[in-house]
Amino acid sequence: MSFTVKTSLLENSDGSAQLITGDIKLIASVSGPIEPKPRQELPNVASLEIVIRPAVGLSGTREKALEDKLRSLLQAVIVRYKYPRQLIQVVIQFLSTPLTKYQGGAYSNHKDEVEYSNIELNAAINGCYFALVDAGIALYSSFASVCISLTEDHQTIDEEPEYIIDPNLKQLHKSDSHHVICFNIEDKKANKILLLESLGDFTEEQLFTVISKAVTQCELIHNDYQRKYITEKIDNDYVWKA
């Protein structure tokens, strides 16, 4: 798993981050707290406006579903009561996805194949984290997300299935199921599950294994990447403060 992050690259947003992870490249921007439209306004907490834009084509039901999943997660981590009657706008623009990469542009010839929105969700969550931190939005805790796929060898039933962390498109094609797990992180330790999305066939036991693997992975993302990039960012932001 590798993360490349650049923050504060858009001047018109309060916070922005570009994340490259695996074959996915995206830009997330956060604006807030700003004045909402009357119909968005909530009397005691901040409302969230989440927009996800695909790399190819116009956004449709798939993006709406992603937006919904991301919203449920962000509602749990943003300290919303700090910004009553305000709006926080989150826009995620996918620039490259595995599908655009593998087909070398002739992407939609394979459009009928399963659309792996879940790995995009994983990247969206991780990208969103950096943008929220960059925008200075109050969060209850850090959060990190990981995608794990599970491939069973159907010849030998008793064998342990193969768990792949951060699978690529080919590995996903072969897998039986894949899961996106997002943990909140307090004091460098993964604490609670914020989101769990699974797709495919799996048993309860396998799911528990996946979750326990996700714990170490999320802690790794947090300690190796999130902390590193945020320290870097703060160093750059306060470069004047000798």
Partner: protein
């Protein structure tokens, strides 16, 4: 409730006074463009570019797939440009709502590129009436600092020049086709007939007389700026968008309201624009050429070349 930045009268007067003295607040000459910077041409994909133009940032992706052509045009491929603007670019653009400005931007880009036939649609035909390439351009505006039209048009043309579609072979006497993987056979570039370049001039009437302002009788007071930034864009009294190509053809000219301009100014502008059109066209060509060269050496494609180099 508009999230547009409002400029104070003080600021506006200062701006106009500066213009009267021949000074632009961003330090540029009146007919000076910002130069595109940080141009990123993707190496592992065809048809993906990112670029910055001042503080304006865009990304552009071209994708292709095969479909049935429209019944009335069996020989022509399909070409579409998507350019939706969202609140990432600037808070003045509302999500999921097409503002007039947004519509204008996409219309002009569409008019300049698609309707000027800059992409040869007949070359996209595979089997007439059965299979044609459909080319879709997704233009994403990431940050707004004025002049989305010129930059968007430049970006789309750059991405189209960068794009290559997979090679195909027709088999079974024109019934079926094989799409060759890009790693198996060298993909084919699109046939681009000409490169349209949009140039936007913003007009400012420095005359204090409101009456004259409306009638536009005082030509000597009219000032025009090329490639305006965000602030200049908010303060403009009118604008004209000229699209030209290197063959000195005017593709499109639009002037949507604003103060009237003199015919002589229009002629001058079109004539002066040629210089910028040449510069930008050459820029696209050199960028693509350098990129091809780089890809050629990095992937060691020389090893795959067959036959004598004539």
């Amino acid at each position: 409730m508009s999230r547009k930045i409002e400029i104070t009268t003080n600021e506006k007067t200062y701006f106009i006074e500066a213009l009267k003295n021949g000074i632009r607040l961003n330090g540029r000459q009146f007919n000076e463009m910002r130069t595109p910077s940080n141009i990123f041409l993707s190496k592992d994909e065809y048809g993906y570019i990112e670029l910055e133009w001042g503080l304006t940032k865009i990304s552009c992706r071209v994708s292709s797939f095969i479909r049935k052509p429209f019944e009335d045009r069996p020989f022509e491929g399909i070409f579409n440009i998507n350019c939706e603007i969202n609140s990432m670019a600037s808070k003045q653009f509302e999500n999921g709502k097409n503002s007039d400005e947004e519509v204008l931007i996409s219309r002009i880009i569409e008019k300049s590129i698609r309707r000027s036939n800059s992409l040869d649609l007949e070359s996209l035909c595979i089997i007439s009436g059965e299979k044609v390439w459909s080319i879709t351009v997704d233009l994403n505006f990431l940050n707004f600092d004025g002049n989305f039209i010129d930059i968007g048009c430049f970006g789309v043309m750059l991405a189209l020049s960068h794009f290559k579609k997979p090679d195909i072979t027709i088999i079974n006497g024109g019934k079926d086709i094989i799409i060759h993987d890009i790693n198996e056979r060298e993909p084919q570039p699109l046939s681009i007939l000409h490169i349209p370049i949009c140039l936007t001039y913003s007009f400012y009437n420095t005359s204090q007389n409101v009456e004259e302002n409306i009638k536009g009788e005082s030509d000597e007071d009219a000032i025009y700026l090329l490639d305006c930034d965000y602030k200049e864009d908010l303060l403009k009294d009118g604008s004209i968008i000229i699209t030209l190509n290197k063959n000195r053809e005017i593709i499109q000219l639009s002037k949507n309201g604003g103060i009237p301009i003199d015919v002589n100014i229009l002629l001058d502008l079109s004539l002066n624009s040629i210089k910028f059109v040449n510069e930008l066209t050459d820029l696209i060509k050199t960028l693509i050429k350098d990129h091809e060269q780089q890809r050629f050496t990095e992937l060691n494609l020389k090893l795959l070349q067959v036959g004598a180099d004539r």
